[in-house]
Symmetry: C2
Subunit: 343 residues, 2 copies
Amino acid sequence: MKPKKVTLSSIATELQVSKTLVSLVLNGKADALAINKLTQQKVLDKARELNYKPNQVARGLRMGQTKTLGLLVADISNPFYARITRTIEHEAEKAGYSLIVCSSDESKEREIRLLKTLLNRQVDGIIMTTTLHDPKILQQLLPHRFPLVLVDRSLAGFESNFVGVDNAISAENAINHLIEIGHKNIGFLTLTPDYISSLSERKAGYLHALERHSIAVNNNYILQLDYLKIKNKDYSQLYQFLLDYPEITAVFSANNNLAVACLSIAKTLGRKIPKDLSLITFDDVELFEYTAPSVSSIAQPLEIIGQKSLQILLQQLKNDNFTLQKEILSTQLNLRESSCGIK
Amino acid sequence: MKPKKVTLSSIATELQVSKTLVSLVLNGKADALAINKLTQQKVLDKARELNYKPNQVARGLRMGQTKTLGLLVADISNPFYARITRTIEHEAEKAGYSLIVCSSDESKEREIRLLKTLLNRQVDGIIMTTTLHDPKILQQLLPHRFPLVLVDRSLAGFESNFVGVDNAISAENAINHLIEIGHKNIGFLTLTPDYISSLSERKAGYLHALERHSIAVNNNYILQLDYLKIKNKDYSQLYQFLLDYPEITAVFSANNNLAVACLSIAKTLGRKIPKDLSLITFDDVELFEYTAPSVSSIAQPLEIIGQKSLQILLQQLKNDNFTLQKEILSTQLNLRESSCGIK
DNA sequence: CTGAAAGCGCTAACAA
DNA sequence: TTGTTAGCGCTTTCAG
């Protein structure tokens, strides 16, 4: 018992009219062509009766656009990306687009593979947080002027739309605050791969703040943690780091996962935050307000990032002669309990 | 300057062979047909040279399968769904499937609309957390025997694959614990719509535990919060609830968002958890271990839920005569600081 | 071993 | 006002 597909032709033959007519009516182009109201109604009725579902794949093939967008993030389970995704998805749906979501896990190979898949699937555009380093790769992967928005991370040497925040300034402000309340030995925690623009900009902000306050940079205070280890809650590198440099009184963590690592290790080491160790992190997470202690953080405007990204993408999709757009948004520094002065 | 598409025919004409041949070679069916190794190599080389990308949309239309799955959850930004999504996405990718992700926001209308979209897009199967109440609607929306896995929530009267946890038992265990450590007036926090199977099962577990301990049920102690208000951090209902019933010494929250609400309101009300108010919640979130106080929770095996769901879906996709599968997994009760006895 | 041709379901000239 | 026809790019009988 096969539910035999109901297609345009089904309707057409049942009604003894042409597929064209049915297509026209069902796409609302009937009025423009002044097609008989009665005929229109018959088509509409029959479509409903047979429970007709337009095949979007056929439509996509024919029209050369699938009304599908690709969203390629580092890790959809990270609340940072999850929340951006939500906004994008909702806005996309409003505009009639569906979203194919995938996570690269900060792996170049994976990213390239996923990108190819998206292109083969003929998505109309892509929003992505690239983990690539070499602009050439993206250039040769993507067709010329393919609608693309880079989010969170830009790629030097690769011209494209971009939506992100002022990472350097935000980090610098936070570090300034730590310095002003008396900290001199400030650790900087970042992730692999650290050539990622958002991370390196945050580091630049850190360095700049030290420089401005004539504090010598101690490279030992800069720790780069392995992304996958952090993901798997292996915090041993951080543990050793805090043991090795007990003189560090404050750390700045470059993303939310690292802040969690800090909370965890501080707990096991018995180092009290903020008495023994102050903490400010990039990225805000809902629960940072309720942790012990609550975590000072740099909050990115996630909803706006999502909205802007999609908006730019849709603009490029519409406009044929479209000029690339860059949107650098401001962050907000939420000072909470985890950052306080030296006694 | 148009980048002129490179298709099967491009390769075929350039090589003076037929599309058939090219297709066969590119799909690895050449060896089976004993096609000239040399010819094969020529095709492969030319494909690489022209940077050929197979059009999956055309392929999908022709083959009647798009290698795309739909994932419809309540809210992708909720870590509970985000983490399940991640597993599903990774496993799907391994199997050659892409994932169209969408969030229903617990709205029936939205869910129905999204479901239709997914079907129109010819996804090969769907994994979803339904917010529907009426099995009829799903029945008439979905083709007979359409590959579908319900996750987290089942739908009475609708036969389908299912993956979830033993909600009633898990909740009952948690409530038992609260009772055993001396609590009598225990509040139960749930969400709209509360006919959702997982929520109603949790409530049943709550009621059952009370009954087992001969504690009279006070319906005033059961609070149903509005999903959208909670989503927007409007916790006023909960605020009023805790004010109205100060005799409540412990609350059980039916999901992670409600636990956050409790932390927030307890803070504003100056009620100390767990001294003044004990708390156990369904769903574990990474940071519940580090909140003040750390939150006791019922952790669901998210990775397994994701894996099982996809696995079942893929099985049905393969097997034509496939029998529906139900998978009820166990949870883990993590007792932390937020639940302790009455002084 | 290789090619011709049909057709998946839909849209859009172009006719009538 | 409606119908005919030609594909979109691909796979797949069926011939040769």
